[in-house]
Symmetry: none
Subunit: 226 residues, 2 copies
DNA sequence: AAACCGTGTCACGCATTCGTAACGGCCTTG
DNA sequence: CAAGGCCGTTACGAATGCGTGACACGGTTT
């Protein structure tokens, strides 16, 4: 999942944020001061930065500006943590373009919500297909609808996700582990054979359209290319 | 590129918005009060208006209404700037049809994103409907009125918003989190199960028309397509 | 003050869905 | 041809998701 850089000089604050973001399924990198933050931002190129305004030596504002100036990091969304509401205007408004802010003390849930929100917004720009059509099989992601020969097929949430993940990677074989990652998220506690069962249910429901789902013995599963 | 009219009485705010929109490649015209805004809207016929709600003399709501009434300007998309989340309902819902809103303080990048978004939608010709009719169910958004089989149904503000959000995205499944975002607005940290409760109340009040509201297990809710 | 309304949360129970184990067939390999 | 892995299939207990009723809280009305 996405990697997030958390910058704060108070270890307690870092830990709090880290714990909650990890619970939400994000990977977390931390830094305790401005220079370390800049170094790690370049090294890890995180998907987002959560940045405390008050930092020793190089403060948050500086870090923000520098990140924005460097083309390698200028695209990374930044959420500012600030103690004073009065500073908000400067943070958001002025030359440094933070994308959102949270005033301390903040609720962990709120933080996670804002992070998710920003993540989604960022994705909006990259194009991802939300509709697939192969012969008699149609997959409509936003409508959560699958039809075979015009007839609606009722899939459960996991079946649907499994199908779309395979469809999005059409032609490429996906190992069971890969599928567990992408369909079941990071729940690695699951038996790989579970995938088989779901594939079976999926094929059963798809009927004749099941022929688009290949089994690659010893490797995994694949959605046929055309 | 497209021309955008920015209306705000605080010079700092205007400058901020202007700078960011220009950076994004738009041409910008500014106005500091309502009458100036109306004058410039007619003179330049901009492709979009970014309009502060709080203005001296003629306020943003008035400007919005007048722009909508005049055929020469009624087609121009309007983005409202507002300080209070509570005002959002009035802005979007009621007699004046603003196309989007941003609460202050806002991130410049968010503003630009929304502007781009609206620009695209204008081209896409997807118009936001303010009246829905599906069999015996009629939803009149500007009038805040819902009828089933000609009989009026009293909905609370949240119920109504929930219904209209679903209706506007007819056919597409909306996750609980999505609905919390769009119905309950940003600031709230609400349990996702709350959505269920409101759905239940909504269905109860809608009676037989409740069949238009699908539950998609493991995913969210959906207003049926036809 | 009392009553009411709109709202958010909780707990319970049911139905569906999920994950796993077990078995048996098929393909591969030697 | 036999053995061993790999996969499809079946069945079943566990877990989950959702609808529902009840309740608490704050704001407004009576």
């Amino acid at each position: 999942m996405a990697k997030i850089l958390v910058v704060d000089d108070e270890p307690d604050a870092v830990e709090l944020v880290e714990f909650n973001l990890k619970s939400a399924g994000y990977e977390v990198v931390t830094a305790a001061d401005g220079t370390e933050a800049l170094k790690k931002a370049r090294a890890h190129s995180p998907a987002m930065v959560v940045l405390d305004l008050m930092l020793p030596e190089v403060d948050g504002l500086e870090v923000c500006k520098i990140l924005r100036r460097d083309p390698a990091t200028s695209g990374i969304p930044i959420i500012m943590l600030t103690a004073k509401a009065a500073e908000i205007d400067r943070v958001l408004g002025l030359e440094l373009g933070a994308d959102d802010y949270i005033t301390k003390p903040f609720s962990p849930r709120e933080l996670v919500l804002r992070v998710k929100n920003l993540m989604k917004r960022g994705k909006g720009e990259e194009e991802k297909k939300d509709r697939f059509q192969l012969g008699e099989l149609v997959i409509d992601v936003p409508r959560h609808l699958v039809t075979v020969q015009g007839k609606r097929v009722d899939l459960t949430a996991t079946e649907f996700k499994l199908l779309t993940v395979l469809a999005q990677r059409r032609g490429r074989v996906q190992s069971r582990e890969q599928l567990l990652q992408d369909v079941w998220q990071y729940d690695n506690l699951i038996d790989t054979r579970t995938v088989d069962t779901h594939m079976r249910r999926l094929r059963e429901k798809l009927g004749r359209a099941a022929r688009y789902l290949d089994t690659v013995r010893g490797v995994g599963y694949r959605f046929v290319e055309n």
